[in-house]
């Protein structure tokens, strides 16, 4: 593994822009992990039965007695103007909050129907704040499919929280992006050992731990889909830290160095802290990547993690990306990643699923990363697949998870070899 930039990365690779049917979730899906991360928040989707059904299907099983999300389903009379939708919404919110006194933050989440009928949830949030503050803070964002794709829902949610963050003049680091608690704790340990001052996370686990932001705040993203939140924080005067994302040993190392550099912390101090976990990660990766080396991989657009993951799999696991599809390409945030991604794959943005399926059938990759709607049909056609949604639901960031991340890609290949040894070379 090398930290050098390859002779030619993908920064200048022409991008295939596609327009057509998208086989991607909408931004409402982010609620499935956000409501677990923010333990005193409730997400109220204002939408249709379809929205409720989507959340139920995306959540897989209905494991919660009463989840911290729900849907206020619009009915005929709301649309026909027979009922004042705002009055109805106020009533449902009051009912909900009286039943859940533990809730301190309420997100009104806009959907396709609420956007189309132009239900003004910002004004509704204002009005409800007047009633329920200070016990409950009411915010709003849109997770609609006409505006957001899958992980952009988290971006919209966090962006909505930015104006409410307290101001500060202190120097500090704000890490942005929902991480599993165990990974967040590992990261905080590394940053503390390196000597980064005042590290806070957005989103915080509880509303009482809301981080502050100011001109001496550095902002580092741990997820690649947070462009709007990033821009909102920069607009508040915070200073961005540009780095590859902390996937794999290399990504983690580069991310930590970039953060340390922003605070003027010497490189050798960072090296001293990361030597052991980094060596551990590389050792573990060496074993897992044996299954992956030389295998060709094809990414359907899904979570926006595709480019950083392709970079990790190519540089640290020896895989060969054939096509890397993304829902949308954020040049600024992806710059450091594209510099590192070895030249070769087709970069595609947007989707026409039928044409992309034609390409994957022609390419016959060893592994295809795609959504749940496509996985079994492609398996039935003889292609090994990895469900993309697992990448968002599993701890995959930083050193200790580097091999787990590689393992997510190795498992479908190992499984195939187990079940059909004659098909595997």
């Amino acid at each position: 593994m090398s930290l050098d930039t390859p002779p030619r990365g993908c920064s200048d690779t022409p991008v295939l822009k596609e327009r057509g049917q998208r086989e991607v979730f909408c931004g409402l899906t982010g609620i499935v992990w956000l409501h677990r991360k923010m333990q005193d928040a409730f997400f109220l989707v204002v939408g249709s039965r379809t929205c409720a059904h989507l959340l139920q299907a995306a959540a897989g099983v209905m494991i919660f007695a009463e989840p911290r999300f729900g849907t206020a389903i619009l009915e005929e009379k709301d649309l026909a103007g027979l009922a004042d939708a705002n009055a109805e919404l106020d009533r449902e919110v009051a009912r909900l909050l009286s039943r859940r006194p533990d809730i301190r933050q309420l997100f009104l989440v806009g959907s396709c129907p609420s956007e189309v009928i132009k239900l003004d949830l910002a004004r509704a949030a204002e009005r409800l704040n007047a009633t329920h503050a200070p016990h409950v803070r009411v915010l709003n964002y849109s997770g609609s499919g006409i505006e957001t794709t899958f992980t952009e829902g988290e971006d919209a949610c966090l962006e909505a929280m930015v104006p409410g963050l307290p101001a500060t003049q202190d120097e500090g680091l704000l890490v942005v992006g929902a991480l599993p608690d165990v990974v967040e704790d590992q990261m905080l340990g590394l940053l503390a050992a390196i000597g980064v001052p005042n590290v806070r996370c957005l989103p915080a686990r509880r509303s009482s731990e809301l981080p502050a932001a100011g001109p001496r705040t550095r902002v580092a993203l741990v997820q690649p889909f947070l462009g709007a939140t990033h821009a909102a924080l920069v607009k508040r005067g915070a200073q961005p830290v540009s780095a590859p994302f902390p996937f794999g040993a290399e990504g983690t190392t580069l991310w930590l160095h970039a953060v340390a550099q922003a605070f003027g912390i010497p490189r050798d101090r960072v090296e001293a802290v990361i030597a052991a976990p980094r060596a551990r990660a590389e050792r573990a990766l060496a074993t897992v990547s044996e299954t992956l080396r030389g295998k060709r991989i094809f990414f359907f657009p899904d979570s926006q993690l595709e480019i950083p993951l392709a970079r990790f799999l190519a540089r640290e696991c020896g895989m060969v990306p054939v096509e890397v599809g993304v829902p949308y390409l954020h040049r600024e945030l992806m710059g450091p990643e594209l510099d590192l991604l070895p030249e070769g794959p087709v970069l595609s943005e947007g989707q026409d699923v039928e044409r992309q399926l034609d390409r994957v059938r022609t390419a016959q990759p060893d592994l295809t990363v795609c959504g749940l709607g496509l996985a079994n049909p492609l398996e039935a056609e003889g292609l090994a697949t990895k469900w993309a949604i697992e990448l968002v639901f599993t701890p995959v960031h930083f050193y200790e998870q580097a091999a787990d991340l590689a393992g997510l890609f190795a498992r479908p290949l190992r499984r195939r070899a187990l079940l059909t040894p004659e098909a595997a070379e």
């Binding site: 057509g20 049917q21 998208r22 086989e23 991607v24 979730f25 909408c26 409402l28 899906t29 109220l44 204002v46 249709s48 039965r49 379809t50 409720a52 059904h53 989507l54 139920q56 299907a57 995306a58 099983v61 209905m62 007695a65 009463e66 989840p67 999300f69 729900g70 849907t71 206020a72 389903i73 619009l74 009915e75 005929e76 709301d78 649309l79 009922a83 919404l89 009533r91 449902e92 009912r95 909900l96 039943r99 859940r100 396709c112 189309v116 009928i117 609609s144 499919g145 006409i146 794709t149 039928e354 959504g371 749940l372 709607g373 496509l374 996985a375 079994n376 049909p377 398996e379 039935a380």
Partner: protein, 519 residues
Amino acid sequence: MKLTLWTYEGPPHVGAMRIATAMKGLHYVLHAPQGDTYADLLFTMIERRNHRPPVTYTTFQARDLGADTANLFKDAARDAFARFQPQAMIVGASCTAELIQDDPGGLAEALALPVPVIPLDLPSYSRKENFGADETFFQIVKALARPMERTKAVTCNLLGPTALGFRHRDDVTELTRLLGTMGIAVNVCAPLDATPADIARLGAAHFNVLMYPETAETAARHLEKALNQPFTRVVPIGTHATRDFLAEVATLTGLPLPAETGLRQPWYAASVDSTYLTGKRVFIFGDGTHAIAAARIAAKEIGFEVVGLGAYNREQARPVRAAAKTYGLEALITDDYLEVEAEIARLQPELILGTQMERHIAKRLGIPCAVISAPVHVQDYPARYSPQMGFEGANVIFDTWVHPLVMGLEEHLLTMFREDFEFHDAAGPSHHGGKAQARAETPVAAVDASGGDTSAKMKGEDVASGEVIWLAEAERELRKIPFFVRGKAKRNTEKFAADRGVTAISIDTLYEAKAHYAR
């Protein structure tokens, strides 16, 4: 506006997808925004289908709204036809597209495609999934089925099985076999595995078997009127219903009743080992058809006591209410899952027969449960043959319902040795997997295996205890009662105490109540 946490049914266009996905040679062009493609995974993941649903989503975005969503639809429909070459297409809108009023039917007609294009009008803000399936199937049948000469031998059509149905695949096999014993062949089974060309020849059959009123009743009524085909009213789930069904078919066709083969359920229910099933209190909830059938089996074929009966699909409210009345009950017609949970917590049944939702409720309340109706999850699409209909269906149902319960002799042993350190009630039925937990040496006061009901408490109603309190020694005695009857004992004792104005329950009250309710 109505707050919903979990839904029993999806939106109506998902019902249309169940029809389209069940059929072959049909394509559905759905005017819908990004994200509505989630519905594909219901079929590819939950049902493990190895093909994508034959659905093209137009995927309009916010920026298209001011511009030209209509052309987007036309392009998508034209491309879908060129790529998939279907025999017929259905076109419609999802909830968002319904609001922008592009008229998919009119737009598709303007394309003048060389195949039948059937427009669907599915009101997303007032109707639900079952309506969507029923209406879609009706529209397809109305558009394609024409009167024609009947087959020489007696044949029938099987109407109603869809994609994502509860055991539809196996029910079709079982009914085909059962009708075969009468010498009746199946002309067309639809929508499952039927092509539009098959729909066109529905009229060749002598009569229709309406398997699932939820998805095919409107089509069956249309065929009765337009093609003069009678349809069967009895849904053959359970031994008695299967016999009634065969009698109904014999009357319709004039054919003699066949000999019964392969039926074991009545003997299993009669065998002495099943004595312990007598009077077990069951709560039944599902779609109307399956709930009504389950209640009949529970009461008449297994000897349970039906203590609650309900359905989530309002379309079947009338027959469900009528059925409930025959068991002396008021039917629970609701699609609010919290309401169902509260009712189950109140009734403290010994067995729940329900859907995927009730499975979760049962798990929380610590009550055994078997699944009888959609919506179901991946584990209810078994690899093995597992019908609900016909005589084999009756056998399958007996096994499925008895399995979650503690078996007869084990029940006695638990009662006799309830203090045994490894043979105690938290260990669960011994034929289920999972490691038995060692019994805590001192019972924890707050733990009650009959299950507290968190959501009901959040509503501020303490369902279980009311005004009556339990004295410590009576509570200890209650804990000695095996878990599978403890809920009933608790409820009976509290009712007994409340009826007599007793506010504190002692050991004597507990046994007075036991004597009172003895049967």
